[in-house]
Every structure is written in structure tokens, then in C-alpha cells.
């Protein structure tokens, strides 16, 4: 028996049912691909902010480097900091000059003395930022404490919301696709009752009869998955120039090359599972 050829013939003979199944599957996986890209992108942005020196501690002019180093040591001993970097007045001046090199007016009259020394602290867990900030605020030599709590918390909120919305939508669409597969393959089995009866009478095994329907579901899943990948990747490549300028300074785009085959592999695996599951249930239900 040739289950693959038989499945392809079934598809050729009833193309509209195949189009319905494949387009539903494509829609599901396009939404999944877009949400995966958005979720990964926002995770990257969040990671970027999380790994930045989120707490910056500025010290009073009279604070000596030794005093600052003792604060640094104290922080490192807590174990909750990922890194603590000391920026001396001289280094601060260099950074200032580098950032404002295109504006000579801003460079005039600025010396290392008027810039404060600082510590740039990053944490393993962004939730601990506040604790670190409170801890250093109590030090008498500290002038000011800045940290990006708001950005992180709203980014975390957004990322979580995107993940939850994405997962919910994808699950809902996956269920719909599964149902469509079930209905279409069940319908085909019903329409081919006579053919199935003939195959039974001439000695075809159960697998000989079932296999073309299972292959058909898998073809729907894989084709829908592949088309959704083509669509999502094309959309991403098309939008990349705009997104690069929109997200300037954030290390998200361009997407690394390894991401594309990985996304394709994931979508095809999910398409295979969805297609085979839908057709297996249909075969079980309608081929009794």
C-alpha cells in the first residue's frame, strides 16, 4: 500500500477541505510564531534592562575612595548583587566627555571635581533592586540613589501579559485547528465508507486503511506550519528596518540566524503533533 500517495490523492480530490484545514492551521501557527517572536523580543529587552547597572549610587564630594570601596565590599558580601562597578570622578568625566563629544559647549568648564564618584550595581533578581537601594541609602556618604525600578516592573508586567495572552490565544486556536482536522478527516472517512468497505473485503489491514487518513492530517499540520513560518519570517524581515530604528539602542534586532531554523523546527514539530493527533482521534472515532 502507498499511504502517502493515497493521502495526496485524497487532498487533490477534495482541495477545498484541504485549504480550510491548512489555512486554519496556518493562522494558528502564524499567531504562535508572532507571539513567540514578540515574547522573545520583550524577554531580550527585559534581560537587557535587568543586566544593566540598575542601581546607580552617587556619593558626596567628601566621600573618599576607601569609604566607597568599603560600601562596595559590603554590597558584594550580601550575595544578591551580580556586579558592583566603581566609577571614579575621573572615569565619570571620561564618560561625560564621550557622551557629549559632539557638543563642545557642554564640555567647557566641566572638571572631574564637579562630577560625583559612583557605584553601578546590577542584581541577580530585579525584585531585589529595592532592597539594594534601601541598603545604600542608609550610608552617610551617599548623595543620591537612582534605579530603574519602574521600567523593569512595567516591562515585566508587559512581558508576562504578552506570554499569557499569547499562550491563551495559541491554545484556543490550536484547539480550533484540532477540531477542524477532526471534522474534515471524519467527513472524508464518512465519504469513503464504500472504499473502506472494499479495502476491508480485499484483505487490507487496519493500518492500510487508517494510514492515508493519518498521513493526511500530518500533511495539513506540516503544510500549515511551514506556510505560517514563511509568512511570519517574511513579515519580520520586512519590518526589521522599521523596528531597528524604533528599538534603537536595544540589542534585539536583527534576529540571529539560528532563530529561523529553530522556529521552523518548533512549528513543524507542533504541526506534526497537531495533525497526527487530530487525524488519530478522527480515525478512532469514525473508523470503528
Amino acid at each position: 500500500m502507498k499511504p502517502l500517495q493515497t493521502a495526496l490523492r485524497h487532498i487533490r480530490r477534495a482541495p477545498y477541505q484541504a485549504i480550510a484545514a491548512i489555512s486554519t492551521c496556518m493562522l494558528t501557527f502564524t499567531i504562535a510564531a508572532i507571539f513567540i517572536m514578540v515574547a522573545l523580543g520583550s524577554s531580550q529587552i527585559l534581560k537587557f534592562f535587568e543586566t544593566r547597572p540598575e542601581v546607580t549610587v552617587f556619593f558626596k564630594d567628601e566621600a573618599s575612595p576607601n569609604q566607597i570601596f568599603s560600601v562596595k565590599e559590603k554590597l558584594e558580601k550580601t550575595g544578591i548583587t551580580a556586579s558592583v562597578r566603581y566609577i571614579s570622578k575621573e572615569e565619570a568625566l571620561e564618560i561625560y566627555r564621550e557622551e557629549n563629544k559632539s557638543d563642545p559647549l557642554l564640555l567647557e568648564m566641566v572638571t572631574a571635581n564637579i562630577l560625583p564618584a559612583s557605584l553601578e550595581i546590577s542584581a541577580h533578581d530585579p525584585a531585589l533592586l529595592k532592597t539594594i537601594a534601601e541598603m545604600v541609602k542608609s550610608e552617610p556618604i551617599v548623595e543620591e540613589v537612582l534605579f530603574q525600578e519602574d521600567i523593569i516592573s512595567s516591562l515585566t508586567k508587559w512581558t508576562n501579559a504578552i506570554r499569557i495572552t499569547g499562550i491563551t490565544l495559541v491554545l484556543a486556536f490550536a484547539f480550533q485547528t484540532f477540531t477542524i482536522f477532526l471534522i474534515i478527516i471524519g467527513m472524508k472517512i464518512s465519504l469513503k465508507r464504500e472504499e473502506i468497505e472494499i479495502l476491508n473485503l480485499i484483505g487490507a489491514s487496519k493500518w492500510d486503511i487508517k494510514a492515508p487518513f493519518i498521513y493526511e492530517g500530518i500533511i495539513y499540520g506540516l503544510t500549515g506550519g511551514f506556510l505560517s513560518w514563511v509568512f511570519a519570517v517574511t513579515a519580520l524581515l520586512y519590518a526589521t528596518p522599521f523596528l531597528v530604528s524604533f528599538l534603537a539602542g536595544l540589542p534585539v534586532l536583527p534576529v540571529p540566524l539560528w532563530f529561523y531554523p529553530l522556529l521552523l523546527g518548533g512549528i513543524l514539530a507542533a504541526g506534526f503533533i497537531l495533525g497526527s493527533l487530530g487525524s488519530l482521534v478522527a480515525v478512532r472515532r469514525f473508523l470503528k
Binding site: 500500500m1 473485503l201 480485499i202 484483505g203 487490507a204 492500510d208
Partner: protein, 227 residues
Amino acid sequence: MITFDKVTKNYGNITALSEITFSISQGEFAFLTGPSGSGKTTIIKLLLREITPTSGTIKIGDVDIKKLKPDKIPILRRRLGVVFQDFKLLPDRTVFENVALTLEILGEEKKSIPKKVKDILAITELLDRANLFPAQLAGGELQRAVIARAVVGKPDLLLADEPTGNLDPTTSSQIMKLLKTIHQKGTTILMATHNAGIVNEMTQRVISLKKGKLIKDEQSGKYPHKD
């Protein structure tokens, strides 16, 4: 080859077969005759294991087919060739593909299938119709295609259920000639028919049924009833 031992088949209160006993040897050609409702098709269905007897034993070779497990039924059917009155060809496959299907089911080597199909299509005079679909064939051609599908795998036994039932006398005669050729090549044939002309012309064994009972079993017999 086939043994029916006191086989009874009831459908609810209706008795389709009652205590039928007969046997058919390897290489025999036997007619199963009788009017409509006499039980001919029930015997074919029992042999195909579409249904099971209410009582009695049916053996094909040494196999008691009543005791066959469901997963062994396809294996039994692969040993049989079946010719149906209503053809039962797959409408979306060509004559060639329909015939090749039997060999595919038998697990025949892919390379040898085209030659075997062409050989049988030559015998059944369908070579020039190989690439046509069933809807494009005439009644006699359809029946020849069914016979080709049934015998291409060289079955132990060919079951023919009213193979001339839907055909005109000339075409029926061609089909019988073909079945005779197949029988001469060594295939055992059991053919259900109520066509008295064919039975009388062939002078083969005739097993006659009436209302589910075996009323006559004659070597070189004649058709006993008038429908």
C-alpha cells in the same frame, strides 16, 4: 479446501441458512445456485468472514474461520479473490491501480507489480483500458477488471457473487469464458448465480439451495429451479 459442517445462520428470527453441509476440493469449480433469498450471498459472506455462523463449522483449508481473531481476518481475505455483482472497484483509481492494489496489500515487491498487473490485464483483455477509471468502462469491462483484481494475487479460492448479474448474455458468456480459463490455470472457484443458462452450459458441480436449505449437490449438474 472449503468445508461447511452443519452451518446455520440466523438473522434474528429469520433463518438464512439451515444446517448446511458440503465441501469443495482444491481445483474444483462449483456453482452455488438458487433463487433470491436462498442463502447464496450468506455463504459468500460467511466465507469472507463478514459474518459468523450461528452454529456449525466453516473451514478454509485447516482454518476454522469462526475462531479467527479480528486481526487475522485480513490475512484470510488475502488468500481469497472476490468478484462482486456490483463490481466494487475504487472509483478514484485507474484499472491498473485497482488491480495493483491487491498486490500492494499482499506486500508484493514494488518492482514486480507492473509486470504482474500487465500479465493479468492481458488475460482479461483490458490492457488498452489500463489507464481508464471505472466510470469510463462498460459493464463487461468493469467485471473483467474486478476478476483481474481478484486473481492477480493467485488466490487459493475465487469467490464470485453473481458476477454476471448485471451483464447482458453476450458479456456474461465472455465473463464465464474468462472464469473457465482462470479455473483451468488451477484456481478453485465458487460462483453464486441464479443464471440457469450459464449453469447448464458449463456442466460443473452445482450446489442448489432453497430457503436456506441445501436441496441438491450434483457433479456436472444442471440448474434445478425456474426463478
